[in-house]
């Protein structure tokens, strides 16, 4: 079965602390994974995708096929990082989203 699991509904950290938003997936083929973000009062938008191996707004995510994970990390959280984050898996004909993790960064 194709599935994306985000175990944390809410993650709260203080500014400057490291952040790791967890994402695990279940997929029989070679996965393509994404992180989408929704800031308050804004549209859901692509943050990054694993095939690009890029760092966006200080965030990185590494695909670990052995652990079937695609955790999103940032070494020093900023208040403007507060948002809803969704991990997504390309299931060939559609994207499969996780349930999302709300990140709160306190000053």
């Amino acid at each position: 079965a194709q599935r994306v699991t985000q175990p944390e509904k809410l993650l709260s950290v203080f500014k400057g602390a490291p952040v790791e938003l967890k994402c695990n997936y279940s997929y029989s083929g070679s996965p393509e994974l994404f992180w989408y973000v929704q800031y308050s009062r804004q549209r859901l938008q692509l943050l990054l995708r694993h095939i690009s191996r890029e760092s966006i707004k200080g965030f990185t995510a590494d695909l670990n096929k052995g652990e079937t994970s695609f955790h999103l990390k940032k070494p020093f959280a900023q208040e403007e990082d507060s948002a809803m984050y969704y991990c997504a898996l390309n299931g060939a004909d559609k994207l499969i989203f996780g349930t999302g993790t709300r990140l709160q960064v306190f000053p």
């Binding site: 393509e32 859901l44 969704y86 060939a92 004909d93 989203f97 996780g98 349930t99």
Partner: protein
């Protein structure tokens, strides 16, 4: 430079009413999608379309139908609205689907918050 436009930002309807949610994209994308977004449940796919007049059921199509008469427009229809359809509805489009670089990178609309009383 708005690329995916949802016609209604907020709607309030009564149980049993027919509801139309409209979505238009100006990027000449082949694929269009309708999701509903609920706290704790994430995004759930209702219907999607790969081409004009084509539609495919998503994970939760019950109680919904769609129409795609033109490439740029994808409408979601609630034939008889019920209170459990109160939700945020998100429209999205992508250039193409399948697997490979860039596939299924979605551009989302601002959302339509529907309340059914």
């Amino acid at each position: 430079d708005v690329k995916v436009t949802q016609s209604s930002r907020y709607l309030v309807k009564r149980t049993g009413e027919k509801v139309f949610l409209e979505c238009v994209q100006d990027m000449d994308h082949e694929n269009m999608f309708w999701y509903r977004q609920d706290p704790g449940l994430g995004l759930r796919l209702i219907y999607f379309s790969y081409d004009v007049k084509m539609k495919e059921k998503g994970d939760i199509p019950e109680g919904y139908s769609v129409s795609r008469e033109k490439k740029e427009r994808f409408s979601l229809i609630l034939e008889s609205a019920s209170t459990n359809q109160t939700s945020m509805y998100l429209c999205a489009s992508s250039l193409f689907g399948g697997l490979g670089s860039g596939a299924n990178v979605l551009t989302f609309g601002a959302g339509s918050r529907l309340t059914v009383l």
